[in-house]
């Protein structure tokens, strides 16, 4: 992989925010986490903090466990037959794997967007956006409330101007990039503390990728974002901190600027200079 890929992003500069991890507050703390598929140990003894309001990128070669780690953060890993985890994931200091914690409540506070856009084909654009919001409350929110949250979430995901005149139409009529931003809007509508993005631009064209990246950049401060990506340039463009995983282990986590200029670990350097992966 060439390290000097032309930058497709001009509006978004590499983050210059000072991000000393020591004084920033971790919103999500992973403590000695192991994740298994049956007997296979896909994530090995990972401990990492995700700082509130920051974007953290997880990079690494295929099969290194980065998606699995991400799916452990909102208890989606356990929905796969034979999958289980050991260790702790603290959200605001409380273990989401503790006894008595409902995974559904966890997923409402930690949203997730997948590699391929997944709009619900039977719902309109508006209904897609409010789908999670509608399911969250004990009583169904009023129509006006739903319209309000739909507009807010669509504006937040920079999709409002493109779809405001066709909210009643099928979400399937949108382009792939629009569908992906719709999925981000749908996740934001539940007002999560954390947003997990699992290679959100892997199936998108460069222009749509740019829009999603800009959106991720915009979300910092409000939402804590963890983004898994194959694309190191993307990690460099959108993230404050970068974590590098290899063979299920977390090799290194550091501020993105330092990670890509002077990585501490030889394996990290080998990966980001394109010697493997």
């Amino acid at each position: 992989m060439p390290t000097t890929e032309p930058r497709t992003l001009t509006t978004v500069a590499a983050p210059t925010v000072a991000n000393g991890a020591a004084d920033a507050q971790p919103l999500v703390s992973v403590r000695a986490l192991d994740a298994y598929f049956g007997a296979t140990r896909a994530v090995r003894d990972v401990s990492v903090d995700f700082v509130e309001g920051q974007v953290t990128a997880i990079i690494g070669p295929s099969g290194c466990g980065k998606s699995t780690l991400l799916r452990c953060l909102n208890r989606m890993h356990e929905t796969i037959a034979g999958a289980r985890t050991e260790g702790e994931v603290l959200l605001d200091g409380k273990d989401i794997y503790a006894r008595g914690v409902n995974p559904i409540a966890v997923r409402r506070r930690i949203g997730m967007v997948f590699q391929r856009p997944t709009p619900f084909p039977t719902m309109s654009i508006r209904d897609n956006v409010v789908a999670g919001f509608r399911a969250a409350g004990h009583t169904a929110p009023s129509r006006a409330e739903q319209d309000q949250i739909a507009e807010w979430a669509l504006r937040r995901s920079a999709l409002w101007d493109e779809v405001k005149d066709r909210l009643r139409e099928s979400a399937m009529a949108l382009s792939g990039g629009q569908q992906q931003r719709l999925c981000i809007a749908r996740a934001l509508a539940t007002r999560p503390r954390v947003l997990l993005l699992d290679e959100p631009t892997a199936s998108l064209d460069p222009l749509s990728t740019q829009k999603v990246e800009e959106l991720v950049y915009e979300l910092r401060g409000d939402v804590t974002v963890v983004i898994v990506t194959h694309n190191m340039q993307q990690a460099a463009r959108v993230s404050d901190r970068t974590a590098f995983m290899l063979l299920g282990e977390l090799v290194e986590v550091a501020p993105t600027t330092r990670m890509f200029t002077s990585p501490a670990d030889a394996r990290t350097e080998a990966y980001i200079t394109g010697r493997f992966g």
Partner: protein, 300 residues
């Protein structure tokens, strides 16, 4: 001899005589295409013949009275099959009311627990039941629903038809639910949907057009069944809508009129067959259009 040899060799070694080989392949391709087109025509030809036959034989006896009048005794001309039509509608309703919930529920179970041991047993038994001769289903219903109460009944006929329907609906429901991408299920779970809500509002809702089609195809399939009704619904000369009384049905009436020695009854049997075919055609057409969901095809 020598030329023939070289011709054969050139077909084998295409690089040496490319034009000849292309021509041979084109010829073979044309023969195969012709054969498959003929097969396709043969496959649909019976329906066209049946339709033409029923139209020529039955259309003349088809009038308003056929739908509204009761059967007349032998020797009187005219009369219709109002009771048989009502009976068929009633039997289909009973069968659907019992068969659709069970079939759809079983299909959902099979799709959601596809790897389980119980699921594979149910799937296998369902396939066996699907292949069971309908007369066997009729005997089964007679043994358990007619014999103990010493009476033929509409309910027994409806249950026999439901037994025919369930495996069909089960398998189509399972197939349709399995067509829903796992990514949608994951997306709903990740939004904080409970499992039941994911299954109902996302998975089932997405698969619904296909499930409705499957249900209609099953209804069309049982609408013309005769054997399961022979010893259950039995048939009835008179108007009846009672669940506990024998009831007439279109296929039963067609059967008894067709084997009778009277020309008027033969004519009515033809008309009845035409109506039955039209009913199945209409249901199939509805099924075809039901697949088009509100927002276009669900599976793209």
């Amino acid at each position: 001899m020598n030329t023939r040899m070289s011709a054969r060799m050139s077909t084998r070694m295409s690089t040496r005589a490319p034009r000849r080989s292309v021509r041979a392949r084109r010829a073979r391709s044309a023969v195969m295409i012709t054969l498959t087109v003929v097969a396709a025509l043969l496959a649909t030809l019976p329906l066209i013949f049946i339709l033409a036959l029923l139209l020529t034989q039955g259309a003349s006896s088809l009038n308003w009275a056929f739908f509204t009048a009761m059967p007349r005794p032998v020797g009187e001309s005219g009369g219709g099959m109002a009771n048989a039509l009502a009976g068929t509608v009633m039997l289909i309703t009973i069968a659907s009311a019992l068969g659709l919930p069970v079939g759809i529920g079983a299909g959902m179970y099979l799709a959601e627990h596809r790897g389980g041991r119980l699921a594979s047993v149910v799937r296998f038994l369902s396939d066996v039941l699907n292949g069971l001769p309908s007369i066997v289903v009729g005997i089964f219903a007679w043994q358990f629903l007619v014999r103990p109460v010493h009476r033929f009944s509409a309910l027994a006929g409806g249950i026999a038809l439901a037994v025919m329907m369930i495996p069909l609906v089960t398998r189509t429901t399972e197939e349709m639910i399995r067509l829903v991408p796992d990514a949608l299920r994951e997306a709903a779970l990740a939004l904080g949907y409970p499992r039941w809500r994911t299954s109902l509002t996302v998975v089932l809702r997405t698969a619904l057009p296909g499930i409705v089609t499957g249900a209609l195809v099953a209804v069309a399939r049982i609408a013309g069944e005769t054997a399961p009704l022979l010893f259950t619904a039995f048939g009835n000369q008179f108007w009846s809508t009672s669940l506990t009384q024998p009831i007439s049905a279109l296929p039963l009436q067609i059967f008894s009129y067709a084997i009778s020695p009277y020309d008027e009854w033969h004519a009515l049997a033809w008309a009845g067959a035409l109506v039955l075919l039209a009913l199945v055609l209409v249901i199939s057409l509805v099924a075809k259009f039901a697949t088009r969901s509100r927002f276009g095809s669900a599976n793209d």
